[in-house]
């Protein structure tokens, strides 16, 4: 089953859920890396879901302290937005204030996980990330003006840039062997001694967040700017 069919199946599921719950104004499913798999909206008004996802991803990074992120709910005086984790994906929907939340939740909690589970059993090839990750060795980066920018070999950045139509790679995603993920800015390694050794120099703050050890291999992949 191709990714298109997978996405179509989820899109159909979202549409059916919206037919059952007409108060849902917008719904979409996305992966942890921010890829939107399926999306439906009540009207044609464009909503910047990508911006919400980006903000949500930043929040995910901060939730290690409470044991990850299973659900997120915004309660406004005109409507609500709920994002819940379904296996390794996230289901988001917004609804008007008059919506019967208990009903919506019972529908979404039953239908969508069932569809996702079914698809995962059928799909032989899971959804691929947009780029193949690079295995690098973690190295702690400390100093006064380090901020939150990791450093990797310039060659890797150039290689990624060429792969993605000369896109400027300014951000990466780091994943540890324990499955902890963090996003941060990236720039080439500045100190000569660390160049060409397959290292990633991770700023102290992110280093601690990832609970990574010096010399531990981590997966690193570029965040590709939109449109590339």
């Amino acid at each position: 089953m191709s990714e298109d069919i997978y996405a179509n199946a989820l899109h159909t599921a979202l549409t059916e859920v919206r037919n059952l719950c007409p108060d849902i104004t917008h719904s979409f499913i996305f992966t942890k890396d921010g890829t939107i798999i399926a999306e439906t909206a009540q009207d044609t008004a464009e909503v910047s879901t990508q911006k919400t996802i980006h903000s949500f991803q930043k929040l995910i990074e901060k939730t290690d302290t409470i044991g990850g992120l299973n659900a997120f709910l915004v309660n406004g005086n005109k409507g609500i937005l709920q994002i819940s984790r379904v296996n390794n994906m996230y289901l988001a929907f917004s609804a008007s204030k008059k919506a019967d939340m208990a009903y919506i939740q019972s529908v979404t909690r039953i239908i969508l996980p069932a569809v996702v589970k079914l698809l995962e059993n059928i799909v032989s090839t899971p959804i691929k990330p947009t780029s193949s990750p690079q295995n690098l060795i973690a190295e702690n980066l400390t100093g006064l003006f380090i901020g939150e920018t990791a450093q990797i070999d310039d060659e890797i950045l150039l290689e990624w840039s060429e792969t993605f139509d000369n896109a400027q790679i300014g951000e990466i995603e780091i994943e540890t062997s324990n499955g902890k993920i963090a996003r941060c800015k990236v720039k080439p390694i500045s100190e000569h001694d660390f160049k060409g050794k397959g290292l990633i120099r991770i700023p102290e703050k992110i280093y601690r967040r990832l609970e990574v050890e010096k010399g531990e291999p981590v997966k690193v992949k570029p965040i590709i700017p939109e449109g590339k």
């Binding site: 104004t25 909503v47 911006k51 903000s55 929040l59 409470i66 044991g67 299973n70 997120f72 005109k78």
Partner: protein, 143 residues
């Protein structure tokens, strides 16, 4: 006399309310802050920084989502992890983060804080009425 309550008064009221909430079963702690003051009361003081960062990020994400999805004005934001959930809200310029066990009913706590909000509005309105009455009395010309 000012019609609007001073931030210090609102802060003091919220502080007292949060101390009551803090005593409830399953509530791990809270962070209350405004531009001048901050109160932190957590079971585990080593988590203060992590919780403060999470609470701030939660409100920011909530604000972004509220704007994008046109949810009106944001009443509250909740994030739930495997063990703990966090309720964040803004009352005037007071930013609140309440940390609790996953099983605690956050809606009840949210309602209690909404009552605080209502009381503040009511007090502000009473103050305004009292000010207006006072002004009216002062301008009345005696016969």
């Amino acid at each position: 006399m000012s019609a609007k309550r001073k931030p210090e008064e609102i802060y003091a009221d919220l502080y007292s309310n949060l101390e009551n909430i803090r005593a409830k079963e399953g509530v791990i702690g809270y962070i209350l802050r405004n531009s001048k003051f901050a109160s932190v009361n957590l079971n585990d003081p080593t988590k203060i920084i992590d919780y403060a960062i999470l609470s701030t990020e939660l409100l920011e994400t909530g604000e972004v989502a509220t704007k994008i999805f046109e949810l009106g004005s944001m009443n509250s934001v909740v994030v739930e992890g495997n063990n703990v959930k966090v309720l964040s809200l803004v009352i005037d310029d007071q930013r609140i983060g309440i940390f609790m066990d996953k099983k605690v009913n956050h809606s009840k706590i949210s309602k209690e804080l909404d009552l605080t909000k209502l009381n503040q509005k009511r007090n502000a309105s009473l103050n305004q009425n009292s000010q207006e009455n006072q002004e009216q009395n002062e301008t009345e010309v005696p016969p």
